[in-house]
């Protein structure tokens, strides 16, 4: 009874709200992002990136009048599940864009797919849904998680690095990062060290690194861990002595705190704010003008996700109820990506180039990642072969 009453109210409210705009089709997009706690900085980038795209396109994606509903998953699977159910059932969104973290994606994947809605991940790219469990309703605009690490391993292998010290947090993604690195790297591993998640004082590990006689250190230390590790690594005078190869450790979310300590270190990615493409430069300039900070890959991937939706909705003439047409148009990915050309693999994860990134201090005193060199060209992930699509 309450539900019927609620629905009637909603219909009433909706008809009132949309009464003057009978012509334009409507599109509702739900964003599920991590916005609380220290990792909230990543979600904030994605949220701002997505909103910027909608705003730039005049509030409509593909000609459909677009409403964006934002939900914070708080980096808790149960919260993510509740929020996504509310997006699907109460807000009745057509497309869900999320998440930042892979374990959050695992939580929202099933309900969204079950409701036969489109799910687009602007960041998380777990191996779980790239292989056998790939699905026609699921798209990724970022990368498959392992690829950044594979690129670093390739770089190390091709550039005469003989001995590597590996350091990562002790959880699944940390172990995956090391395996990704080892895919192309054939050299010697000085040691593999795992720290607890959220580790504070890296002095013990840094002493191990200093005495390991390694040419390079490979690490994956997202968020605050990366800030602390990079500061302490630099303070120990190791930045000049060995190559620092990392992913998700020195990026636009951590650089404002790391500052000069990160200059000279390397990251890996598919894009950087200095990417040599006019529309990408315009995006960076608009983003900074509006939000006052440098956009990182998180913002770019969400921006691309919005452009992808724009292209697909426009292809079906704004009729989002045409599910088959919408999926085909999404898969075709006919949009102007900030990364140049954009193409989906058979598992609907992108095929793209990976770069080594270095850290630069700009003339205005802010810090950003910059493209150093291309490492992998038109690279698909290692799991696509298992996907039967």
């Amino acid at each position: 009874m309450r539900k019927i009453f609620g629905n009637t109210l909603a219909v009433l409210a909706l008809s009132l709200a949309t009464a003057p705009l009978v012509q334009a089709a409507d599109l509702k997009v739900g964003l599920v992002l991590t916005l609380s706690g220290p990792p909230g900085a990543l979600g904030k980038q994605a949220q701002d990136g997505f909103n910027l795209a909608v705003e730039t396109l005049g509030g409509s994606l593909g000609g459909a009048n677009t409403t964006v509903v934002v939900a914070d998953d708080e980096l808790k699977p149960d919260v993510a599940l509740t929020r996504v159910k509310s997006l699907l059932e109460r807000d009745e969104v057509d497309i869900v864009v999320g998440t930042i973290f892979s374990n959050m994606l695992a939580a929202i994947y099933k309900p969204v797919i079950k409701a036969d809605k489109i799910l687009i991940s602007p960041n998380a790219g777990p191996s779980t849904f790239a292989g056998k469990k790939c699905h026609p309703n699921f798209f990724v605009t970022s990368y498959q998680n392992n690829q950044n690490f594979e690129a670093l391993g390739k770089y190390a292998q091709d550039n005469g690095i003989k001995r590597v010290f590996m350091l990562a947090p002790n959880y699944q993604a940390g172990r995956d990062s090391m395996n990704g690195f080892k895919k192309h790297f054939q050299g010697e591993i000085a040691d593999e060290v795992f720290t607890p998640l959220g580790h504070k004082d890296f002095s013990a590990q840094i002493a191990q690194i200093a005495t390991s006689k390694a040419d390079a250190v490979f690490t994956f230390m997202p968020g605050g861990m990366g800030v602390r590790f990079v500061k302490q690594f630099d303070a120990a005078g190791l930045s000049d002595k060995m190559t620092f190869l990392s992913a998700f450790t020195v990026d636009e979310t951590t650089l404002p705190a790391q500052k000069d300590a990160a200059v000279g270190l390397f990251g890996a990615g598919t894009w950087a704010p200095d990417f040599d493409l006019d529309r990408s430069k315009a995006f960076v300039a608009n983003f900074e003008a509006k939000y006052g900070y440098v956009p990182g890959s998180y913002a770019m991937q969400a921006y691309d996700a919005a452009l992808l939706i724009d292209s697909a909705v426009s292809a079906v003439g704004g009729d989002v109820s045409d599910k088959a047409g919408l999926k085909a148009a999404l898969k075709a990915a006919k949009f102007d990506s900030m990364r140049g050309t954009f193409k989906f693999n058979n598992n609907q994860y992108p095929i793209q180039d990976f770069y080594l990134l270095n850290i630069a201090k700009r003339a205005d005193g802010k810090y950003q990642t910059e493209i150093a060199e291309k490492v992998l060209e038109n690279s698909g992930d290692s799991f696509a072969a298992e996907c039967k699509m």
């Binding site: 220290p38 959220g198 002095s203 002493a207 200093a210 005495t211 120990a236 005078g237 190791l238 705190a257």
Partner: protein, 306 residues
Amino acid sequence: MSLFLVQSLNGLQFGILLFLIAAGLTLVFGVMGFINLAHGVQYMIGAYLTFMFFQWTANFFVALLLGLIVALAIGLACEILIFRHLYARDHLDQVLATFGIILFVNEAVKVIWGPSSLILPPPDILSWSFEIIDGLQYPVYRLAVIAVGIAVAIGLYLAVFKTRVGMLIRAGATHPEMVSALGVDIKRLFMIVFGFGAMLAGFAGAIAAPMFSLEPNMGDDLLITVFVVIIIGGIGSIRGAFIAAVLVGFLDTLGRAVATDLLKLVFDPSAANQIGPALSSMLIYILMAAILFFKPEGLFPARGAA
């Protein structure tokens, strides 16, 4: 061998930091029988206040001093407004109330300073380093932290054992009714102990900030380790807290440094890599369990000893 020395130094420095937080907590717990989960919040407040004053004054030492004064004021205000009303209550009520404070303050810090990690640079005079072993620079700031920590420990020891207030604190820990009956204002004594403990935790946060980073929730995971310290040391005992803090600092740091390597002698490397990190995280709890088994009241029970 030289690597072992460096790791020992790292362990000592971690232990000193733990001691500064544990000192206040063990007194509050021992003297008042009050479980204050929000003690970690004081650590965070100290760090953020110093950061804020540093932005205004651009002088680390001035910022530290101002940060300590305000941290003390906040500690006293909390005592008067909130904690005072909880002393007579059940431990569960205290846990609930102080847990609520954690949630509130963490959220407030996030609103004021944002969720991202922040960096407080060490003072210029201490921001150099020297080559401690071949290829490794050791920041002088960390040595300064050790020196300051030891000085504070000695100061506290003298304050507790050689002054009148210290004597009252020790007496209050074991015989609060008797002390009260002798005409001592036990309420004021508690307030002093509490404010001072909060300030020490804030001091720990402020001097830790240049080594680590500032972020909301920064005190929460340390708090668990600090509880281990005060339980090992004996609740209410300053001497116990110091020895236990150094012990835990050493064990934790050296455990992380060598556990995996030692296991590699017995297991194959991949198994050692699985077990090592898990085991080294457990070491301090194993130590606590072992000590509680043989000495249920900790190494230095406060009874008459403080």
